[in-house]
């Protein structure tokens, strides 16, 4: 029996972590994540969970503690944002390279300089090549649901990889929305008991973590890492989503395709702004414009084939990035371009950079993009491939 509450994104994810009750949690505060771990640490202090909370002195230490605890055989979590994720960078690769299924909510925030505490995707996009699985969430409900599913995905025996669950800083983390919670027992049953693989603390079966591997074997190790995330994650994500649907009635996939089947133009956009844009898609449809939207959920591994099948029939597509790759196209744009490249008949693509440092993304902004796409679909002419929008002129 689901419980309906009005909570912030941080509160919802902290509650998901309480319901899962991991063995170990390492925490270090950073806005806008602080409130998430503060809530979880209150569950620890109040005896609501038996999780061992390690209060560390930096995010580098937080992720290091997670690596140690996960290698030791525990179910392990932490959470971070922005500079905190950047400071973890070195250890992110170690967590993935050692196949440790650490679960980490990332409350997306801009990177310095200039200093800015508000929501954009620069932090998680900077970590996209670290070997972690990435799930992205539109709202508090999705952040809660993705957090629960992340344990099953990362811990699946054929996967065993760390997972980031992304949600927009402040816009979701600090806004109150309606969320349906599952019952504690339902969540516990869904994630199941943790089964460690080759734990360091199993002294009867000693193993080594993090040994030196020289050029004679390093590439074989890396190829295996690639093959695992490339081939094995997608089926698990879909299987877990199916089971989660049976439990919750809420459907998840590799991405959400919104009114795409009979669309001519579409927007590809991540997280909270996708919600705003979906309302605008409906407005466009009411005005006779055949607009649609694709909202990626699984960003790593990226489902190129499935995404291309959803988009290739369109005339024009705008990929909206809430992060920039300076001196290049936005990170989401390059993925969409790669997925469509194999096809001779494919939509015209444009890239818009929006919403950096928490700049609002309003319905009017989405509308302008759709009208530009409509123009491109008619004339075939593109003024500029990459453009900053939602900026003052």
């Amino acid at each position: 029996m689901a419980k309906v509450v009005a909570v912030t994104g941080n509160e919802a994810v902290a509650n998901a972590l309480r319901q899962v009750e991991p063995d170990v949690c390492a925490a270090y505060p950073i806005t806008p994540q602080t409130d998430l771990m503060q809530r979880f640490s209150a569950f620890v202090s109040d005896g609501k969970v038996k999780t061992e909370l390690i209060l560390v002195e930096s995010e580098h230490s937080a992720m290091s503690a997670c690596v140690g605890a996960a290698a030791g055989g525990g179910r392990v979590v932490t959470a971070t944002s922005s500079q905190g994720l950047a400071l973890m960078w070195e250890i992110l690769f170690i967590a993935a390279g050692m196949h440790l299924p650490i679960i980490m909510p990332v409350v997306n925030r801009a990177l310095s300089a200039p200093l800015n505490i508000h929501g954009d995707h620069s932090d998680a996009m900077g970590a996209r090549d670290s070997g972690w699985i990435q799930l992205w969430s539109e709202n508090a409900q999705e952040a809660y649901d993705n957090t629960i599913q992340a344990f099953r995905i990362g811990e699946a025996p054929e996967v065993r990889l760390p997972v980031m669950v992304c949600m927009d800083g402040f816009i979701i983390s600090h806004s109150i929305e309606r969320v349906e919670y599952l019952e504690d027992e339902e969540v516990k049953k869904f994630v199941g008991e943790y089964r460690p693989v080759n734990p360091l603390l199993d002294v009867e079966h000693p193993v080594s973590y993090g040994p030196l591997i020289l050029p004679d074997l390093y590439m074989e190790y890396k190829r295996l890492q690639h093959e695992i995330i490339w081939n094995r994650v997608k089926p698990v994500v879909l299987q877990v989503a199916e089971e989660f649907y049976k439990l919750s009635g809420r459907r998840y996939g590799l991405f959400e395709a919104y009114r795409l089947d009979d669309a001519e133009i579409a927007m590809v956009i991540l997280n909270s702004a996708a919600g705003t844009a979906k309302d605008v898609v409906d407005d466009m449809r009411n005005r006779g414009i055949r607009a649609g939207l694709l909202k990626p959920r699984l960003f790593r591994p990226f489902p190129y084939e499935e995404v291309s099948q959803a988009l290739r029939h369109l005339k024009a597509v705008a990929v909206l990035d809430r992060a920039d790759s300076f001196g290049a196209y936005g990170p989401l744009f390059t993925e969409i371009a790669s997925s469509l490249y194999p096809y001779k008949d494919r939509p015209v693509l444009i890239n818009k950079i929006y919403g950096l440092g928490g700049r609002d993304f309003m319905p009017e902004d989405a509308e302008k993009v759709f009208l530009e796409l409509q123009d491109i679909a008619t004339t075939g002419k593109v003024k500029s491939i990459k453009q900053y929008i939602t900026v003052r002129e």
Partner: protein
Amino acid sequence: MITEIRWHGRGGQGTVTAAKVFADACLSSGRHVQAFPEYGPERSGAPLRAYNRIADRELRMHCPVTKPDIVVIADPTLIDAVNVTDGSKPDTIFLVNTNLSPEELRKKIGVAPSQKVFSINATKIALETIGRPLPNAALVGALARISKLVDLNTVLEDVRKSFGKKFSQKIIDGNLEATRRGYEEVMEG
């Protein structure tokens, strides 16, 4: 059906909490709700905005309210300091914490003839019930009445729930009384 509300308050007055309590109260009737502040520098005493969306369908919009159905002004000095009518529609309703009559208020805000204005002396109610000039409980009560989104008992239950964890019985009772008086004493002009 969607109702969009914009709150004008000052940092430290509890305006954001009021928006949250109101959203929570509306939730119990099966609606979808949102409550969020305008995210900027947080300074005590500085003007701030907070927002509510209340709807009978899923709320997907994740951006500030720009065309409010209801504007709640928690601090009347803001009428001179910020543009409280920004983005208002012909049928936008204004609810103001003030000792002015609705007629005087209409002139001061400069509303259109089609826009309704409600007044409530929420600071006075707060001083008499809570003993501190915190107008929000009375404003939540008044908002429940004028928005017709939620009945008094549901709001009272929610105020009890919100304050129950942190405050003494005296403070809770004061807030409940302020909410009830806000509901009963709000005046239309």
